[in-house]
């Protein structure tokens, strides 16, 4: 049976039901790992380690989760904090070999994708890190501006500005594709 997040959280906190938490992990693992891969500059191993740590940290902190925000927002906030903290501590020690290999693998995959996906990827690369994250959270994950601001620990106005500027850039860069789709 597919229970909603609130019911699963209630079972975990009140009954100590770890199977309920396994359901939550399965529900969000793909999205979170994909998001963190972007945040970790393609280092898949690091992203998965961070995602794993985030899920464990979230489980331990679950009794304190008051339900003010959605579970996914809360989970993303924990994960983003972990990655940012890791980046601050390990800034000079990026495993270049792993990054290069991941990027090479991505390049092979990209070459097999359609032109639009490739151009979209290139256009996203042209955004600043903060703009990319804001667009990812708001337009790909469907978080509200408020939720994205809470995850990124930025003022609401800053996030809105990032999204608007990124949107304007992407609109300009991808205009040709959009017109092609509209004109059929």
């Amino acid at each position: 049976m597919d229970l909603n997040d609130e019911e699963l959280i209630r079972r975990i906190v009140e009954d100590g039901d770890q199977r309920a938490y396994a359901q939550l992990v399965r529900r969000y693992q793909s999205q979170l790992r994909f998001s963190l891969r972007q945040l970790c500059d393609g280092d898949q191993g690091l992203a998965d380690d961070m995602a794993q740590e985030a899920f464990i940290k979230a489980y331990k902190a679950l009794p304190a989760f008051r339900g003010d925000a959605r579970f996914s927002t809360w989970l993303y906030r924990i994960a983003y904090n972990l990655v940012m903290s890791h980046k601050r501590k390990n800034a000079p020690e990026v495993n270049q070999e792993l990054v290069d290999r991941a990027q090479a693998e991505e390049s092979v995959e990209e070459s097999q994708q359609l032109g639009m996906a490739r151009d979209l990827h290139s256009a996203m690369e042209e955004l600043s890190e903060a703009q990319r994250q804001a667009v990812h959270l708001c337009m790909q994950r469907g978080f509200s501006h408020e939720e994205a601001a809470s995850i990124m620990k930025l003022p609401l106005g800053t996030v809105k500005s990032h999204v608007n500027r990124a949107r304007a850039k992407l609109q300009s860069l991808l205009q040709a594709w959009r017109e092609e789709v509209v004109s059929g």
Binding site: R26, V135, M139, Q171
Partner: protein, 124 residues
């Protein structure tokens, strides 16, 4: 024709008021493209790794869960006992000359089996 970089520098020079003019159609299109472009990452043992590293659930919540399971089984047994036509069965047994002791014994055994089954099912 403007180069890629030139286009970018032009966009960076946009005013906030110009940027705030949103285009819902473009937003929808962009969201769809971004989501379409995203692969689903297979679990590949990720969930098992997470679950293996979780601390054991607290004894308190385990005890509470067990108490609730026992309460549910007792309540279910009480309803069955309340609805069961003991009088009719007893009369029928007497009529058919079945000994009272064997009837009580059979009843007790059946109740024990039902309760054990119920408890095992609830714990599982």
């Amino acid at each position: 024709m403007d180069s890629f970089d030139q286009k970018l520098s032009k966009n960076d020079g946009m005013t906030d008021s110009a940027l705030l003019g949103s285009d819902p159609e473009f937003d929808t299109w962009l969201s769809r493209q971004l989501q379409f472009d995203e692969p689903y990452l297979d679990d590949d043992g990720f969930c098992e790794q997470v679950m293996a590293k979780l601390p054991a659930p607290s004894k308190r919540s385990e005890k509470r869960a067990t108490r609730m399971q026992y309460a549910a089984v007792v309540a279910a047994s009480a309803i069955v006992a309340w609805q069961f036509p003991f009088g009719e069965v007893l009369n029928e047994a007497v009529r058919q000359s079945v000994s009272l002791y064997s009837l009580v014994g059979a009843g007790l055994l059946a109740s024990l089996a039902a309760m054990t089954g119920g408890i095992l099912a609830a714990r599982r």
